[in-house]
């Protein structure tokens, strides 16, 4: 297989990439000014959070200077009944909010994706409103609604007394879910639906057997989003909660206003860990899905 007449270059093998090869003109990530900016930004973003978490172990009531390692503020936090109750409330609300938001969001997404109907643009716009409207406006609206228009009965047993907050959370979370699911639906091959019908499936069966499996990654992402939005919400909850329906962020806020001991740090750290863990699980679930080929 001699290449007659061709001059073979002296080095046939591809040159090994030198360790300190100069970055190409567009490889911005490898140029020092940008590396400096990115690094500084990351420090700026993480330093306060990390110090907060570290100082939750600080053995000092005023928590200004490091004075020693201790778990006692965590113990205090776990022993703080109202804090625990608030945490349980938050989880309960987030749980119900997620379930109903996913259902409503999925239905809204299918409605907008599949049907042509009079007034569709108005409905689409209205669906976007909860995402766009400032939280304070929505919080205020919910306050008025549950105080004057549809008063939520007081004195209900737990968890029904969390109803007002849950409803408020669902109202602002399900449009987010709808957006995520709608994005997923746009990649759906319509012929799958027709194939199912051709094979004898009713509308309902088509929905369950073909559409929902396709939506699944979107549903999971939406559920994660709804859960996090609910768990972390402050402003809207602040306006719809009462003295006996406190959620975790609201409780931490009142702790902040009154006394800033490492207990607040401890509670905050717990919330951070929970949220990050959930996000990690969700991302892992999403990446683990078997690749769906375009059949």
């Amino acid at each position: 297989m001699a290449d007659e007449g061709l001059v073979t270059p002296p080095r046939l093998a591809a040159p090994k990439r030198e360790k300190r090869e100069k970055p190409g003109p567009l490889e911005y990530a490898r140029q020092w000014p940008l590396q400096l900016i990115v690094g500084a930004t990351l420090v700026f973003l993480y330093l306060p959070l990390i110090t907060l978490m570290v100082f939750s172990f600080n053995d000092s009531r005023r928590n200004i200077v490091w004075q020693g390692f201790t778990f006692k503020y965590y113990e205090k936090a776990f022993a703080n009944d109202s804090l625990i109750q608030a945490f349980v409330n938050s989880l309960t609300i987030a749980f119900f909010c997620t379930i109903i938001s996913v259902i409503l969001g999925a239905l809204a997404a299918v409605m907008l994706w599949r049907f042509r109907f009079p007034g569709k643009t108005v409905v689409e716009g209205s669906m976007a409103l909860p995402i766009v409207v400032p939280e304070i406006c929505m919080g205020v609206a919910m306050l008025v609604f549950f105080a004057r228009v549809m008063p939520w009965p007081t004195g209900l047993p737990w968890p029904l007394n969390l109803g007002a907050i849950t409803i408020a959370h669902i109202s602002f979370a399900f449009p987010f879910v709808a957006t995520v699911v709608r994005a997923r639906l746009s990649s759906f091959n319509r012929e799958l639906e027709e194939a199912a019908k051709d094979l004898g499936a009713s509308e309902w069966r088509v929905f369950w057997d073909v559409l929902v499996p396709h939506m699944k990654p979107g549903l999971i992402a939406g559920a994660l989003l709804a859960f996090t939005l609910s768990l972390d919400d402050f402003v809207i909850t602040f306006f719809t909660s009462g003295p006996d329906t406190i959620t975790f962020p609201v409780k931490v806020y009142s702790m902040l206003r009154f006394s800033v001991t490492p207990e607040v740090n401890a509670a905050s750290t717990i919330l951070i860990v929970v949220t990050v863990a959930l996000t990690a699980i969700g991302l892992h679930l999403q990446n683990q899905k078997p690749k769906e080929g375009k059949a």
């Binding site: 911005y28 700026f44 306060p48 907060l52 969001g105 004057r148 972390d232 962020p249 990050v276």
Partner: protein, 301 residues
Amino acid sequence: MEQSWKQAKAAFAAIAVPPVAWLVLFFLIPLAVIWAYTFGENTGPVTIDFTGTFANYARALEPLYLQIFGKSLIIAGLTTVLCLIIGFPVALAIAFASPRMKAWLLLLIMLPFWTNLLIRTFALIAVLREQGYVNFALEWLWNNASGFMTLIGLQPFGDYEPLTLLYNNTAVVVGLVYVHLPFMVLPLYSALDRMDRSLMEASLDLGAGHLRTIWAVVVPLAAPGIASGVLITFIPALGAYLTPDLLGGTDSQMIANVIERQFKRANDWPFGAALSFLLMYLTFIAIAAQAFVQRKAERRG
């Protein structure tokens, strides 16, 4: 391939009614009630009369409150600009990083976004206060520099005066930037990542420097993404409540704080409603502006 709702009326009803009904009952109606309140008056500690008055709006436009609106707009604007200045290079770096680094960097930038706003803001208190980390660091530098001065035989500096970084407008801006930076980076990154690299290479090939290329080529092409990022930073910043509440001083009140006071303490719901709606109108104006910029950019192709 949409189908008309008439072709599957039962299915359409089953699908459309729950979300729309919920939206109407628990979102549109409350908003409508608030809107009605803007035309109402307090006629007693718990009663409100709908008199169709514009007095609430008029009061909202008095110098006192106008000033607060103005300040909120400025703070939100400043926040947005700062986020843009910091966020753009970061987004650029991520968009042009190797695929592996890209995923990690994105994750690192977005992770703080997943943590609670309250906690993020609270974390800044420990950093910015007079006995906070910034001041500690500066003090350390100051004292060491002072020590160095004595070493070379010059007069040492005086005592370190800690900077007042908390409970003022500066703190609010820093806090807002801190909280909203990830919001700005993501759409910027999206737009930059999708951009045609060959256009930049062409510019460099024709002799333009990097900064020139970025200004003349990258920015116009990424304009829709920039507009998006600006929007989703500006709007939340404008309506921010927690950050000015925790980090601001008495003169760093933003609109949201004033609104909260009307509902929780001053018990003047009609006035609070008017303020809320003015905030909403500002929001819609901002959205319309962004849509306008987007359409102009798209027409340019």
